[in-house]
C-alpha cells in the first residue's frame, strides 16, 4: 500500500530537482513557501474529496460551494457586522449542511453522486450569483475580520498557516481513515457495499458522513480562499477547484471505483499538482499550457500505475498457480497443463449418472 505513495514522492522529488536544476529560482525559499501556501489551500478540500472518492462517489460541487459560502461569509462580516467567530461557525455549519443534504440525497433517496453533486455545482453557483446580483464582494478598507484574516493568511516561523492547517487536518483524517473503525468501514463500503451491509454496517451513514466531512472541509477552504483573494466574485470564485481536488486524489492513488486511496497520497497528489503549475511559470512555459501539462501528467501517472498493478497481479497469480499445481503435473511438462481443469471435471460430477 505504501509503494504508491513512495513512487509519488520520488516523482515529486525528481520533478523538483530537474526544475530546480534548470531554474534555481524554483528552489528559492520564497517560491517554496508560496507553493506551501497553495498546497495548503488546495489540499484541505482535496482531503474531503478523497474520502468521498473512497466511498465510490464523487463531489463536483466544491468550487460552487466556495462561491456560495464565500459571498455569505463576506456578507456576514461586512454587511451584517457579525463577530468573526460566529461568522466562521456559520460558514462551517453551512458547509456541513450542504454536505449533509447531498449525503442524504445520495444514500436515502438513492440518487447517483455524480448527478447530485453536479446539480449542487449548478445550484450553488446560481444562488451565489443571484444573492450578490453578480457583483464582487470584498472587505473594503474596514477591519471586519482582521484577527481571522491574520490567522488564515498568516504564517508561523515563516511557514504559511494554510500549510500547517493542512498537515494538522491530514493527521486527524489520517488517523480517522487508517486507524479507526470508521475508516475501515469506508474502505469496505467503497469496494463492496453489499458485503459491508451483510456485515451489519450502516452503509448509508458511512457514505453520508464522508459527504458531510467533505462539506465541512469545503467550509474551512472557503474561509482560507476568501482571505487569500480578499474578495469573492461569485461567477469565478472557486471555478474548477473540485477538478483540482479530484485530480489530486486520483494522482494520489484513489480509484474512482472506490475502496482505494490514502491521506498521504492525496496530500502528495495536491503537492505534485501545485509543483506542476509552479514549474510552468518558472520554466517560462506559456501559461496557456497549464492545464495541458497537468492533464498529461495525470494521464501518464494513472496509466503507469495501472500497468504496474496489472504486472504485479500477473506475478501473484502466476506464483499462486505454481504453488497449487502438484509436482506430477509440472514434471509431465506443459502439454498436460491446459486440459487439466476440463479433464478433471467429468470425473467429479456424477449428476447425470
Amino acid at each position: 500500500m505504501m509503494k504508491k505513495e513512495l513512487g509519488l514522492f520520488l516523482l515529486l522529488v525528481v520533478i523538483s530537482a530537474i526544475t530546480g536544476a534548470i531554474n534555481p529560482a524554483f528552489l528559492s525559499l520564497v517560491n517554496l513557501l508560496n507553493m506551501a501556501n497553495l498546497i495548503g489551500l488546495f489540499g484541505v478540500f482535496a482531503l474531503g474529496e478523497g474520502l468521498v472518492i473512497i466511498t465510490g462517489g464523487i463531489d463536483l460541487s466544491l468550487g460552487s460551494m466556495f462561491a456560495l459560502l464565500g459571498v455569505v461569509f463576506v456578507d456576514l462580516l461586512t454587511t451584517y457586522q457579525i463577530a468573526w467567530p460566529l461568522a466562521l461557525l456559520l460558514v462551517l455549519l453551512g458547509g456541513l449542511t450542504l454536505g449533509g443534504i447531498q449525503g442524504f440525497l445520495i444514500t436515502r433517496l438513492k440518487m447517483q453522486p455524480f448527478i447530485v453533486t453536479l446539480c449542487g455545482l449548478l445550484i450553488y453557483r446560481g444562488a451565489a450569483r443571484y444573492y450578490t446580483s453578480d457583483s464582487t464582494r470584498g472587505f473594503g478598507y474596514g477591519d471586519e475580520a482582521g484577527t481571522l484574516g491574520n490567522i488564515a493568511s498568516g504564517h508561523i516561523a515563516g511557514i504559511p498557516n494554510t500549510f500547517i492547517l493542512l498537515i494538522i487536518l491530514a493527521l486527524i483524517l489520517g488517523v480517522l481513515l487508517h486507524r479507526s473503525v470508521y475508516g475501515r468501514w469506508l474502505y469496505a463500503v467503497g469496494k463492496n457495499e453489499e458485503a459491508a451491509r451483510f456485515s451489519g454496517i450502516s452503509t448509508g451513514v458511512v457514505i453520508a458522513t464522508a459527504y458531510i466531512i467533505s462539506g465541512g472541509l469545503a467550509g474551512v477552504s472557503t474561509v482560507l480562499f476568501v482571505f487569500y483573494t480578499n474578495s469573492v466574485s461569485p461567477s469565478s470564485f472557486g471555478n474548477f477547484y473540485e477538478l483540482y481536488a479530484i485530480a489530486a486524489a486520483v494522482l494520489g492513488g484513489c480509484s474512482l471505483r472506490g475502496g482505494e486511496g490514502s491521506i498521504l497520497g492525496i496530500v502528495l497528489g495536491t503537492a505534485l499538482l501545485q509543483v506542476l503549475q509552479n514549474l510552468v511559470n518558472i520554466l517560462g512555459i506559456p501559461n496557456s499550457l497549464n492545464f495541458a501539462v497537468m492533464g498529461t501528467v495525470i494521464l501518464l501517472g494513472v496509466l503507469a500505475d495501472q500497468q504496474l498493478q496489472a504486472r504485479r497481479r500477473r506475478q501473484v497469480s502466476l506464483a499462486g498457480l505454481v504453488r497449487t499445481v502438484p509436482k506430477s503435473i509440472l514434471t509431465q511438462g506443459q502439454q498436460n497443463a491446459p486440459p487439466r481443469g476440463a479433464a478433471a471435471l467429468p470425473a467429479r460430477t456424477g449428476d447425470h449418472a
Binding site: R184, K191, N192, A195, A196, S199, G320
Partner: protein, 254 residues
C-alpha cells in the same frame, strides 16, 4: 464464549413452514430439523423453493405460515440481524467480502476489535490478526491474516467467509453454492472446511447443485421440488441417481 450445544441435539426445527408471494405458493408445509454437528444437503432445481427456505431461516423475510424453533425456542425474525443474533450465519455464493481489505479485516468487518485511548477508539490490528490466525488454524487453512483478499484463491476466500461465522460462534451455518464458482482443486479445500465446522459442533446446511460434493460431506440430504419437501434421507440410504430423479420429478417422493 457461547456454549455449543451437545452433538445430535436439534438446533433448527421447522414445522409446517410455508410462504406465499401473492397468489404464488413458493413454499408449502415444510418440516425439517438440523442438529448440531450435522451437515445437511439441501438440493433442488431452480425455483424449487431452496432459496425461499434459506431466506426465511436467515431472516430475510418471515414465513406466511408455520413455526421456526431455534435452540428449542420459537423465533420470529424480522431482519437478517435478528437471525444472526441467535447464531445463524449465511455464507453467500458471491462471498460478501471486501477484497481491498486483508483477510483479518474481512473476518472482523462490522465487529472490529478496538483499543481505547481516552475518547478515541482505534483499531486493534494485532489482536484481530492473532484471532484471525487462530480461526484459520482451527479450519486448518493456510490463509494468512495480512494478505489482501483480492490476492486469494477461491478456496481461501471461502475460508475467510467461514472464519467470519466462527468468530460469531454461529450454531447454524448455511452455505449457498460454496463450490459453484471455484476450481476443482479448491472444492476439496472447501469441503474440508465444512467438515471442520462439523467437528466443532456447528450445524451446516449445504445448498448445492453439485451431487458429488453433497455426497462427500453431508450426513443427510433434503430434496425440494415445487415448494415442497420431497425427500429427507440419510446419505447412506440414497444414491445420486435417486436424488437426481427426485429433483427432476422422475420420482415423486422418497
Amino acid at each position: 464464549m457461547v456454549k455449543t450445544p451437545q452433538a445430535g441435539e436439534p438446533v433448527l426445527e421447522l414445522t409446517g413452514v410455508g410462504k406465499q408471494f401473492g397468489a404464488i405458493r413458493a413454499l408449502h408445509a415444510v418440516d425439517m430439523q438440523v442438529s448440531s454437528g450435522e451437515v445437511v444437503g439441501l438440493m433442488g432445481d431452480n425455483g424449487a423453493g431452496k432459496s425461499t427456505l434459506v431466506k426465511i431461516i436467515a431472516g430475510n423475510f418471515a414465513p406466511s405460515s408455520g413455526e421456526i424453533r431455534f435452540d428449542s425456542k420459537a423465533v420470529h425474525f424480522h431482519r437478517p440481524v435478528d437471525a444472526r443474533a441467535v447464531g445463524i450465519e449465511v455464507v453467500y455464493q458471491d462471498l460478501a467480502l471486501a477484497d481491498n481489505l486483508t483477510a483479518a479485516a474481512n473476518v472482523f468487518l462490522g465487529r472490529e476489535l478496538k483499543r481505547k485511548f481516552g475518547p478515541i477508539a482505534l483499531l486493534d490490528h494485532k489482536a484481530m490478526a492473532a484471532r484471525a490466525l487462530e480461526l484459520f488454524g482451527e479450519l486448518r487453512s493456510e490463509t494468512r491474516p495480512h494478505d489482501l483478499v483480492k490476492q486469494m484463491s477461491g478456496g481461501q476466500r471461502q475460508a475467510v467467509a467461514i472464519a467470519r461465522t466462527r468468530l460469531s460462534n454461529a450454531k447454524l451455518v448455511m452455505m449457498d453454492e460454496p463450490t459453484a464458482a471455484i476450481s476443482v482443486r479448491q472444492v476439496e479445500q472447501v469441503l474440508s472446511l465444512i467438515l471442520r465446522l462439523k467437528e466443532q459442533g456447528v450445524a451446516v446446511m449445504l445448498i448445492s447443485h453439485r451431487m458429488p460434493d453433497v455426497f462427500a460431506v453431508c450426513d443427510r440430504v433434503i430434496v425440494m421440488r415445487r415448494g415442497e419437501k420431497r425427500a429427507d434421507k440419510p446419505i447412506g440410504d440414497t444414491s445420486p441417481e435417486e436424488v437426481t430423479a427426485l429433483i427432476t420429478g422422475a420420482k415423486e417422493a422418497a
